[in-house]
Assembly symmetry: C2
Homo-oligomer: 235 residues x 2
């Protein structure tokens, strides 16, 4: 269990989330402003090193894939000592989660005036994302590790999966406002609906691209949406 110390270090929360304890700390001025509880005593960590490491991780991932990604390799590529990596991330998995999570933030729900057009646009964005080498190499490898390590799976869900469910919620809300979808009856049922739709779209596109290895063409997207948009349309 080599991951013990870094979570005790005060600034693990710098990269947006928890390591193993449940607490999430925002950066900013911590609890009391003047006090600076346990921060800012000695030499501060180099923010430039953080960025260089994450960039080097993404680049190496794209070139050599998951198996070729070595902590030593990333370190030398980032112009940083290997020990510096281990001071920030306890293992390769955690590093890659942080390096990859940001990629998915570029997905947006456009609101193009119809549910079909909205889904088509998001599927297209997602397909483009999955076509990139670093995403391809990282995503399934992360998911695979997640099946073994519940802690890691939780982190993946918090950092990558769950945030993207906003797309489904936004798309549903827009379609409901247009009258394309019925309004929600109860909240719990709506949540399950969101989960199902998300698993369906994400799972199908991932399976198509990453497993079957076939590209996402506009024609395919149309047929896929034909399959989905049966019982959902109200009129």
């Amino acid at each position: 269990m080599p991951a013990a110390q870094p979570s005790a270090s005060p600034d693990d929360a710098v990269h947006s989330s928890t390591l193993r304890d449940g607490t999430v700390q925002l950066r900013a001025g911590s609890v009391q402003e003047g006090a600076n509880a346990s921060r800012a005593k000695g030499r501060p960590r180099s923010a430039a090193a953080d960025l260089a490491i994450l960039d080097a991780t993404r680049e190496t991932l794209a070139e050599l894939g998951w198996g070729g990604l070595t902590m030593g390799h990333v370190a030398s590529r980032a112009g940083v000592a290997k020990t510096t990596l281990y001071r920030r991330w306890p293992s390769k998995n955690e590093l890659v989660v942080d390096a990859v999570a940001s990629i998915f933030d570029e997905l947006v729900m456009p609101d193009l005036g119809s549910l079909r057009a909205d889904i088509e646009a998001v599927v297209g964005q997602f397909a483009d994302l999955l076509a990139r080498p670093e995403t391809q190499a990282a995503l399934l490898a992360l998911f695979a590790e997640g099946t073994r390590d519940p802690q890691l799976r939780r982190r993946i869900r918090e950092a990558i999966v769950d945030p993207q469910k906003r797309l489904v919620r936004q798309g549903r809300a827009a379609a409901q406002a247009r009258g394309e979808l019925e309004a929600d009856t109860d909240t719990a049922s709506a949540c399950e609906e969101v989960d199902i739709i998300f698993d369906t779209i994400a799972g199908t596109v991932e399976h198509r691209v990453l497993v079957s290895g076939e590209p996402i063409t506009p024609a395919w997207t149309r047929r896929f949406i034909d399959l989905l948009l049966g019982p959902l349309i109200v009129g």
Copy 2:
């Protein structure tokens, strides 16, 4: 690229499938019975060792997961020298493909009298399969490696993915015979339809179980099928 030589050895085809050439040979008495073309000169390979290795692979996979699976570990567990593994499989990936492929052969299309019931049954079988530790540990890890190695991806498709499309074809044919689905207009379009349906069902269930980490309940299955069975039903 250490995987070059073993494929030259004459009996790589012994384990049920191809290594890198496209040919698939069953074991049994090979092509001509008396002739034994290029086989049977020296000491034959132990079939018991093959089975022991594949069993040991599945067991180790279930216990230690992909990361914990070591060639040396598998060898000693199977009561076999490590070199014997490398004489048969060029790498861990290839070994695991063979060890896992057979698991999926147990899926069957039941023909229960309605399309909904058929899908429900197959989804249930698939969910049970994905709940097993060795499947969980292996499947995503294999897919992940496949994104890096086109050769391996082809093997995975041939050994694991494509064979299961029979389920979709059988289910569609049965539903068409019952009049639940329209008959196919042209063959190419039907093939694409099969691909889409397969990616959708497999991808969604995998995403639900392996990524979201939520169980497949009967209620979930019903809602998922509600989502699918819109435009497909003819009446």
